[in-house]
């Protein structure tokens, strides 16, 4: 080995090594161990799990609550993906067209993303409180007592309130990705469109949207992951209730693993959820890649 290649080898080791070690130690290894634990009855109380073969997987296919969690997660995910993919796109285009107080307005939209998810969730829990929450206080103040609701407790409203929390928290981030992409569209395309007499809608449909498809792909995948991983918001606000009605897949894994002391079964749920997410994300990327435009 020459001195040059030794340096190159060392450089790559030094530059990539820490990240690889951290990623391996905190992501890959736990994932492998999690897969291994899915074949055990590990409770979390001891370090000697017993091998139970496919028992956990057999239980899973008959587990109503698992399927209920999947249904609720998918419901939230559909709302989240639609909103972060298309709602954020519309907002980004609108924000891009603003000429005055541009930075301030963009900053206001981005600000909720800076808050910790837990803080946002606590804030929404306060907003939703039936007796003292800001929403009902406001409604009562303007004489709309009949409109007051138990926003997080009413099983018909809670799913939408959770969605509002997620949407409020993440809107700025997804919008920022679109805004960054909008800045990369060459100005001469806009100028050519203007010369041809194109209106705002035509500019959006024929220039901006096709050029934003790569970000749309990324946003939709990130939104999908956000939806499937919906967990801290649930823990802080509804704890999966009322009943188990707002238990997402992530919350169900937590409930089984931590509260019900069934780490082995929780690992099985995690593994199956991981496979499902992988499949959906791959399909999503494959479908959206076809629509991308290359300059």
């Amino acid at each position: 080995m020459t001195r040059t290649s030794l340096y190159r080898y060392l450089s790559s080791f030094v530059l990539c090594g820490p990240a690889v070690i951290l990623y391996g130690g905190f992501v890959v290894l736990p994932a492998i161990l999690g897969f291994a634990y899915s074949f055990t009855d590990w409770t979390g109380w001891n370090s000697h799990p017993h091998f139970v073969g496919l028992a956990n997987f057999r239980e899973l296919v008959r587990d109503d609550r698992f399927f209920s969690a999947i249904r609720f997660t998918l419901f939230e995910t559909v709302l989240i993906v639609a909103f972060f993919t298309f709602g954020a796109l519309v907002l980004a285009v609108l924000l891009d067209s603003i000429t005055k107080f541009k930075g301030l307005i963009r900053g206001l939209f981005f600000y909720p993303y800076v808050l910790s998810i837990l803080v946002s969730a606590l804030l929404f829990q306060y907003l939703a409180n039936y007796r003292e929450g800001a929403i009902n206080t406001l409604l009562r103040a303007v004489g709309l007592n009949d409109w007051t609701q138990d926003w997080m407790g009413d099983s018909r409203l809670a799913p939408y309130f959770i969605f509002c929390l997620v949407a409020w928290s993440g809107f700025g981030f997804f919008t920022t990705l679109y805004l960054a992409n909008l800045q990369t569209i060459p100005q001469d395309l806009y100028e050519a469109a203007r010369i041809d007499g194109a209106g705002a809608w035509s500019v959006f449909r024929r220039i901006q949207f096709p050029m934003l498809v790569p970000t749309l792909t990324i946003n939709s995948v990130l939104a999908l992951i956000t939806g499937i991983n919906l967990f801290p918001q649930i823990v802080v606000t509804t704890e999966g209730g009322p009943g188990y009605r707002t238990a997402t897949l992530g919350y169900y894994i937590y409930w089984q693993g931590i509260q019900n002391s069934r780490q082995g079964y929780a690992a099985t749920v995690s593994f199956v959820a991981f496979l499902a997410l992988l499949g959906v994300a791959a399909l999503q990327v494959a479908l959206l890649r076809r629509k991308e435009v290359v300059l």
């Binding site: 060392l10 039936y130 007796r131 407790g153 509260q259 002391s261």
Partner: protein, 437 residues
């Protein structure tokens, strides 16, 4: 490229080494003479006062040693304990609740000798797999606390003898313009009505060792929530209870809101354990309360629940080795210093079990608190106590059943009226949880 590498590689390595070395430079705090103790204080002033007294007594008797509080808030510790077991760092003295068997089975507890209990005159707790682990502490009741003035206003001065009578009285309170009940559906306290109904109607009042308990029969598959006619009747009564007395918005409220409303004189009745009495003096609650037994749905006499016969209190964990074991034992002994024990009984509103400790508790100079304690003692004597399902550590439902009951109550609150579906929730949770034991 070579020049960049020749500078960059050693530089980066040096920075990495510095980053790795930095945490060690500050010097770790000396915890060699610290005994860590877990306690669920949260916002309970009485609990904090007790811990301060306990810490003071321990540190006075063991110069140079410190007792450090690990406050578990409103949690029962299982999440925290499992995390600490995983990192091999369980505190030396742990509050165990219904987790004693989990901790003991995991080899995380060290047994106490009988001489510990004899020293303070504590009745020997039922051993678990031949060993005793917990300090035991006091006698805890569960029943119904009432606002005496409101109940007297409707002419009721003695406890209702049946559940239907209770419902009828609550209706009269409502007609009189009082809020008959404080009830929050958001967290564990939502389970209280269902819990009371199950343990006083489904479980035997007297435990006959020759007769398997409902828990044992449930585990053997002889009975289930879905097939038990008493359970179906109980759920029907819960529908009536919720429909008649639980107000809109209850799912926004939890234990703290229940406590605030009751102490604020905004509700006539609270189905809550005796520990609520420990917060009366710190909160300066200024009206008279009484503590009543739980009326039956099945024609049996009203009864109070005694939920502290099982191994309970604090235990020494496997982390306490050598001198730390001795000092952990000293901490458990300091618990029974008269001032400390009195503070415990006051804070938890529990009754004395350590016959050799010169205290008479719970006691308070705050008249409403003392009135409540007197009422507890008198009604315990008059109506007696039952263990419900708190029979033995190996004859106990899975701990998750409390959460499960709360979720069933939440379902009732949002309008579910399918009895079989609700009982299936309990059965499913029971069966699932049994796989973790």
């Amino acid at each position: 490229m070579n020049r960049i590498s020749s500078v960059f590689v050693p530089l980066t390595l040096s920075v990495l080494l510095l980053v790795l070395a930095a945490p060690g430079c500050g010097g770790a705090p000396d915890d060699s003479k610290v005994i860590r103790v877990t306690r669920n204080i949260g916002g309970r002033e009485g609990f904090r006062h007790h811990f301060d007294a306990w810490k003071g007594a321990f540190e006075k008797a063991n110069p140079g040693w410190k007792m450090e509080l690990i406050d578990l808030g409103n949690q029962e510790g299982s999440d925290y304990y499992k995390t600490r077991i995983a990192t091999g760092d369980l505190p030396e003295v742990v509050m165990t609740w219904a987790l004693t068997n989990f901790l003991a089975d995991a080899g995380q507890l060290q047994p106490l000798q009988d001489s510990y209990y004899e020293k303070f005159g504590i009745p020997l707790p039922t051993p678990y797999k031949g060993k005793r682990y917990t300090s035991q502490s006091g006698l805890q009741l569960q029943g119904i606390v009432i606002n005496k003035k409101m109940w007297t206003d409707i002419g009721v001065t003695t406890p209702p003898s049946t559940w239907d009578e209770l419902i009828s009285d609550l209706k009269r309170l409502k007609e009189k313009g009082y809020r008959p009940l404080v009830f929050g559906g958001r967290e564990w306290s939502a389970s209280q009505p269902l819990f009371y109904a199950i343990v006083t109607n489904v479980y035997d009042r007297v435990n006959d060792p020759a007769k398997p308990s409902w828990t044992k029969r449930r585990d053997a598959g002889e009975v289930s929530f879905r097939t038990d006619p008493t359970m179906k009747m109980i759920i029907g009564k819960m529908f009536e209870f919720v429909d008649a007395f639980v107000e809109k918005g209850a799912l926004s409220d939890g234990y703290n809101e229940e406590q605030r409303d009751f102490y604020g004189g905004k509700g006539a009745t609270w189905l809550m354990g005796s520990w609520m009495g420990g917060d009366i003096e710190p909160n300066k609650v200024d009206f008279e309360m009484e503590y009543w037994p739980i009326p039956s749905m099945t024609g049996l006499p009203p009864v109070m629940l005694e939920t502290s016969r099982l191994p309970n209190g604090w235990a020494i964990s496997a982390s306490a080795k050598g001198e730390k074991y001795d000092k952990s034992l000293a901490a458990l002994e300091a618990f029974y210093e008269p001032d400390v024990y009195q503070a415990f009984l006051n804070g938890e509103s529990q009754f004395k079990i350590a016959s050799k400790v010169a205290v008479d508790g719970p006691k308070s100079s705050w008249a409403p608190a003392q009135h409540l304690y007197d009422s507890m003692a008198a009604n315990m004597k008059q109506y007696g106590t039952a263990l419900g399902w708190h029979i033995a550590l190996d004859d106990l439902p899975p701990p998750v059943i409390v959460t499960s009951m709360a979720r069933v109550m939440q379902e009732i609150l949002v309008g579910t009226r399918d009895v079989d579906k609700l009982l299936k929730m309990l059965d499913d949770d029971w069966d699932s949880a049994r796989k973790s034991m």
